[in-house]
Assembly symmetry: C2
Homo-oligomer: 278 residues x 2
C-alpha cells in the first residue's frame, strides 16, 4: 500500500492530464479519417463472433501515454488494453484504455473516450475520461483531505455532482448495447430498465461521465475489463455516486458493473441484479 500525500496526488493529476493530452494528439487525427486502418481482434466474448475492432488510433494513443509514463514515472506499473502489462516497484498502477468505444470511434460518433486511472493498490485515486473531439474532460481525485471531481468542456469548468434519485421509477438507465448481455444478465437488466423512466443505449464510457455530471442515474454493464471501469470509479465516487459489481462488491478490476448516482437507486438495482448466477 502506498501513502500518497495530497501534494503528490496533485502532481500525479497534472500528469494524468498530460497523458490525456498526448493520447488525444495521437488519436484525434485518425477520427473520421477516410484511410483509418481497422482490424478485427476476433471477438471480445460479448456475443458470438462479434466484430471487435482495433485501430491505428488505439495503438498510437496507448503508445504515446506509455512513452510519457516511461519518462516521468518509470517505477509505476502500467496495465493497458493494447500492450502487455508492465510491472512496477512503486506500488502505483496506471490503468489505460486509449479508446474506450472503438465501435463508436470507427463510426464517427464522438462518445468514445480515453480512460486513465491511477490505482494505489487498494483503490483508484485518480480517474480521467477525455473526449478530445468535443473537447470535454472529466476528472475525479480521491485525496486524503480533499475529494474532488470536475469537468471542463465547451461551456467552461463545472463541478461534478451526481443527482438525487429516489427510486427506479424516476431513473434514467444507460447501457452500451442490449446484445452484450448473456441471457440471464439481459433478463436482470430488463427487470431494472422496465421499471425505469428512460432507457438509452450506445454510449460506452460517456454514460458514466453523464452519471457523474448528474444527468443519468444508473449505468449497467457486463463483461468489462479493468481498463473499461477503473477510471470511472474515482470520478463517480468523488461526485457522490456509487460503483460496484452486481453483488455490491468492488469492481475496479472489471466484470459486471452497476454505477448509480444515488444510494437508493444503487440498492434498488442491486436487488434485481444480485440474483444472476456468476
Amino acid at each position: 500500500l502506498v501513502l500518497l500525500s495530497d501534494t503528490c496526488l496533485g502532481q500525479l493529476t497534472e500528469l494524468a492530464n498530460a497523458l490525456a493530452d498526448c493520447a488525444g494528439a495521437a488519436s484525434l487525427p485518425h477520427f473520421r479519417a477516410l484511410d483509418l486502418d481497422t482490424a478485427d481482434k476476433g471477438g471480445d466474448g460479448k456475443g458470438e463472433g462479434r466484430f471487435d475492432p482495433v485501430t491505428a488510433a488505439d495503438r498510437a494513443a496507448e503508445r504515446a501515454m506509455r512513452d510519457l509514463l516511461a519518462l516521468r514515472r518509470p517505477d509505476d506499473a502500467v496495465f493497458g488494453e493494447e500492450e502487455a502489462g508492465k510491472d512496477g516497484t512503486s506500488g502505483l498502477t496506471w490503468v489505460l484504455d486509449p479508446i474506450d468505444g472503438t465501435r463508436a470511434f470507427i463510426s464517427g460518433l464522438p462518445v468514445w473516450g480515453t480512460l486513465i486511472a491511477l490505482d494505489d493498490g487498494s483503490r483508484g485515486r485518480i480517474g480521467l475520461v477525455d473526449q478530445p473531439y468535443i473537447g470535454e474532460r472529466f476528472v475525479g481525485v480521491i485525496g486524503n483531505a480533499r475529494v474532488e471531481a470536475w469537468m471542463t468542456g465547451p461551456t467552461g469548468r463545472h463541478p461534478l455532482r451526481t443527482r438525487p434519485c429516489a427510486g427506479l421509477a424516476d431513473a434514467t438507465v444507460f447501457t452500451t448495447d442490449p446484445f452484450i448481455f448473456a441471457a440471464a444478465e439481459f433478463e436482470a437488466f430488463r427487470a431494472v430498465s422496465s421499471r425505469a423512466r428512460l432507457t438509452r443505449f450506445g454510449t460506452d464510457c460517456y454514460a458514466y461521465a453523464l452519471l457523474a455530471l448528474g444527468f443519468v442515474d444508473l449505468v449497467i454493464e457486463s463483461g468489462l475489463a479493468a481498463y473499461d471501469i477503473a477510471a470511472h470509479v474515482p470520478i463517480i465516487e468523488a461526485a457522490g455516486g456509487r460503483v460496484t459489481d452486481w453483488r455490491g462488491h468492488c469492481c475496479r478490476w472489471g466484470g459486471r458493473a452497476v454505477a448509480a448516482g444515488s444510494i437508493e437507486v444503487h440498492a434498488a438495482a442491486l436487488e434485481l441484479l444480485a440474483q444472476v448466477p456468476d
Copy 2:
C-alpha cells in the same frame, strides 16, 4: 409546384443557417441546466406508456425559428413538432424539429439536433442538422444546376459524401432504440442487423449525419413524423445516398425510413424490410 432559382435557394440556405443559429441560442442555455423543466407528452406510440419528454428548450427553439420565419418569409407554410401547423401561399414549407432526440437532450448526451427542411411541394430542397453543443452543422442543398452537401465543425468545413459499401456484411447499421419497433418490424430489423458487420443504438438524428459523412452505411427507423426525417433526405441525397420508406417509396412525410450510403446496401436492406405488413 414552385420554381426556385439557385440564387433564391442560396438565400434560403442562408436563412436556414440563421434559423439554426436562433434555435441554438434558445436551446443551448437549457442543455445540462439543473432546473430544466421537463413534461411528459404522454406517449409517442412507440412502446406502451413510453416516456415522451418535451422541455422548455424544445418550445423556445421552435418559437425562435417561427418568429424569424414570420419576419422574413411570412408567405411560407410552417410544419413543426411543438406548435400547430401554419398554412402558406408561396408553395414552400419549412419543416422544423427544434430538438430531435429530446431523450438524449435531457440525459446530457449531445447527439440531439435541430432539424430544418425546406420543401417545395414535390421534394425537399434544403436540409440542415445542427448540434450546437459540439458546434457541428450538416447542410444539403438540391439545386437545379448544383447539388451540394457539407458540414462545419470543430475541425473545419468538410464535404459530405457517403461511402461505398458492397453489401450488408460490410455495413455499419444504426437505429435509435431496439424497443421502438413493433414485433414484425423488429424481426425485419434484426434480419438486417444480424447480417451487418456492426450495429449501434442511441443516436437519433446524429446517425443520419454520420451516414452523410461516410462513416455509417445504414439507418433504419419506424414511427417517424415528417419533422423527424425531412431534413435528412436532401442532405443524404446530395451526399450520394438514398432515403426511402421500407417499400422503396418517398418517405419525406414520415413513417418507416431506411437510409443508405450506397445503392447496393439500400437494395439489400429493402429486400428484408419490404415484407413487413403496414
